[in-house]
Symmetry: C2
Subunit: 427 residues, 2 copies
């Protein structure tokens, strides 16, 4: 099944909001065999909304919209699409009672603003999609020929909840009952780190464009290069088998750079590998300034493995909290192998962890020199293992991108070094 | 001038990439008076690319594409659009020589892959947009009637560079010379924190939908609610004057919640306010786990104000590196006012900063209790000022959203508390 996605809101066109809804919808729908054929963003103008939804309905007969359902005056999705379907708007007393109950239960919100009453108007004949995650209900509107538009709120948390509550079950049933409902679009993605796009293509050789008849896409980002294989128009079992065979072919050539699949998060994998081995982690961050700790603590339940760290931004903090010798900073500069090593060892010792990670570099845009240009980052991993002296791996990397990208790439490489150090220790 | 933006790549439809190019393009183009009327994403299929570009060209006569210019086999933008314009593809020896030179200068890349030769083919009559930031040149293709398509690479760093190098100067000239080139689309955005969308609308009263004849949009996010006023179709001077008047009306009602305008970053504003007063900052982070440090160190040049911090995730780290009394953790739990206070005071004292920020909370999804549900966060700011005992502000907040959103919101509120504490100290 192919559908179109239309995201609505001036903020999407003016560039003040990064649209994360589209990516989430695409992943969740793809998993149930629904392919997004096209994505469109339009502003808060009834004509533009109606034109975009009309075009999409003519192409695919199946459209999901996000945004424009709230109580403010720029929320025009429902009336625009009702007009397109030739349906008048009707006041729904059940929705209104629900809004009143929501405000009654939250006296701290004060009285319900008059504008919220607008949320109780819906196109005639529409199915209401209850919103347990906010105040704007969703709408499912379908014509006599089975063409449909599903309208969801634009707030990511509400959209995600309503997708799971309503659309995924509905579309799963629709896909199964549709003509051609026995074929799917499936993909598998190998996540690599520590190697570039061209070098991967070189190692892959005759598999660089695809494997087992499935096309291969290269998706570079700050977490590495993802390699995505896609099977289209095959029955589910055959798609899975073909994808499995192709993945095996790719892994045989580039397996040492592959840390995971799909949406695997390297931080979560590192935490799991440490947990299995009863190992704990501490960080000593200079140029990443908290990014590495934030990556690890973004994972729910990380607290049994990640003990904490020191953001040793100023050299005085490197010395006072992580025992980096001031002589080493003077001799080699704070961006150097001995300082990275001392940050890792200091974090490990002061925090009492099995593994310490140290990161120091020039994230830019200023601060570069001919010897240490912007992008120069030293990363060290101390431990695991009880041997004395503690085993320390160090790596000097030259990272590309802006300040944010360099910091993200540095954190990812630090995590990969931990993965390698830990997985060579028996569980 | 109204244009359409078309982003190309299966990864955008499959949800494995968050599209940040669109937002950047919109902001940069908006600043020179170019409005994005519609954004479309299509996959790596020549038919879909040609259909989307064709529709857009018919609507506006002006299109920017990103993506699909690379050397891999899924990069189909140039031939698809060449066919749409009825132009054959021609080999360009100058581009090819440039590619050869790029590889010759980087022996570590190995020999140039044969696939990169494809990047030297361009539509007949096209203008080449040199790419100083990567290997894929951009293309400007225009027909006899002045309708044009500009093709940029999809890699964000390259796209941004080429936008600045080529498109902004070209479009600035086009806008100035176009009929109606004397009117613009301009907007101003007030950034608020610490108050919700409905409450803002309530305070604004009769200005809730707009001010001075300009419509007002509410853009909630983890950094607070942004309020955007937009002036369309006015001469630049009049647009600026109307916007200035409307901003003054809004500020008069809700000014105490406004921390900045446009793309102002609260972390950057806090750093600037501290710099002006010769104050330094340290953090003691529990539930935010590095997010607050990362916010501050994301700002170039933050090192003169931000000294560092401790990610005190495990209670042992709170005690050993920040001197949080274990008796307080036992008595009140680690998510409590005294622990937040001790984190702030400990970070300030141990790191020797003027201001210490402490954050402790339940970011979820697990760990909530009836007394301290998920979203409960205590934030404390110690200092500035030399008074003994040190002045400490504390706040208990109930934050909504998922784990990531709660952590981002907590960091933003911590920064706002510093802003308020610092700006009451004379410079």
């Amino acid at each position: 099944m192919r559908i179109e996605l239309i995201t609505i809101g001036d903020e999407l066109l003016l560039g003040f909001t990064i649209d994360t809804n589209g990516a989430h919808l695409a992943r969740e729908l793809g998993a149930v065999g629904v392919e997004i054929a096209r994505r469109t963003s339009v502003g808060d103008r009834a004509d533009d909304i109606a034109a975009a939804v009309g075009d999409a309905i003519r192409r695919t007969g199946a459209v999901i919209t996000t945004g424009g359902l709230g109580p403010t005056s720029d929320d025009l999705t429902k009336p625009a699409i009702a007009a397109l379907f030739g349906r008048p708007m009707r006041f729904d007393p059940v929705i209104y009672a629900g809004l009143e109950a929501m405000w009654a239960a939250r006296p701290q919100w004060g009285p319900m603003p008059a504008a919220n009453r607008q949320q109780a108007y819906v196109p005639e004949g529409a199915t209401i999609l209850e919103n347990r995650h906010g105040s704007a209900p969703g709408i499912w509107l379908e014509d006599d020929t089975g063409r449909w538009v599903a309208m969801l709120p634009g707030v990511p948390r509400e959209m995600r909840g309503m997708l799971a509550d309503h659309l995924v079950p509905r579309l799963t049933r629709l896909v199964a009952s549709a003509p051609g409902g026995d074929v799917v679009v499936r993909s598998r993605t190998l996540r690599t780190v520590g190697i570039g796009e061209s070098a991967l293509a070189g190692l892959l050789g005759d598999l660089a464009d695809g494997a087992g008849g499935l096309p291969l896409a290269y998706l570079p980002g700050t977490e590495g290069v993802d390699l995505r294989l896609t099977a289209r128009g095959l029955p589910a079992a055959e798609a899975d088998e073909r994808l499995g065979g192709a993945v095996a072919l790719l892994r045989a050539r580039i397996g040492r750079f592959v840390y995971g699949e799909g949406s695997d998060d390297l931080a979560a994998l590192v935490l799991a590998a440490c947990r299995e081995r009863h190992l704990t982690i501490a960080v000593g961050e200079s140029c990443t300034g908290g990014v590495l700790g934030a990556r690890l603590t973004a994972v729910p339940g990380s607290s049994d493995v990640f003990l904490g760290g020191v953001i040793a931004y100023d050299n005085s903090v490197k010395e006072s909290l992580l025992d980096v010798p001031s002589a080493e900073i003077r001799a080699e500069g704070s961006v150097s192998e001995p300082v990275a090593r001392a940050l890792a060892l200091g974090a490990r010792a002061r925090i009492g962890a099995d593994v310490g990670i140290g990161v120091t570099g020039v994230a830019g845009p200023g601060g570069g020199t001919p010897e240490k240009p912007v992008g120069t980052v030293w990363i060290a991993v101390a431990g695991p293992g009880a041997a004395a002296p503690v085993a320390v791996q160090t790596r000097r990397t030259m990272l590309v991108g802006d300040r944010g990208e360099i910091r993200q790439r540095a954190a990812q490489i630090g995590l990969d070094m931990v993965r390698q150090a830990v997985t060579t220790t028996p569980a």
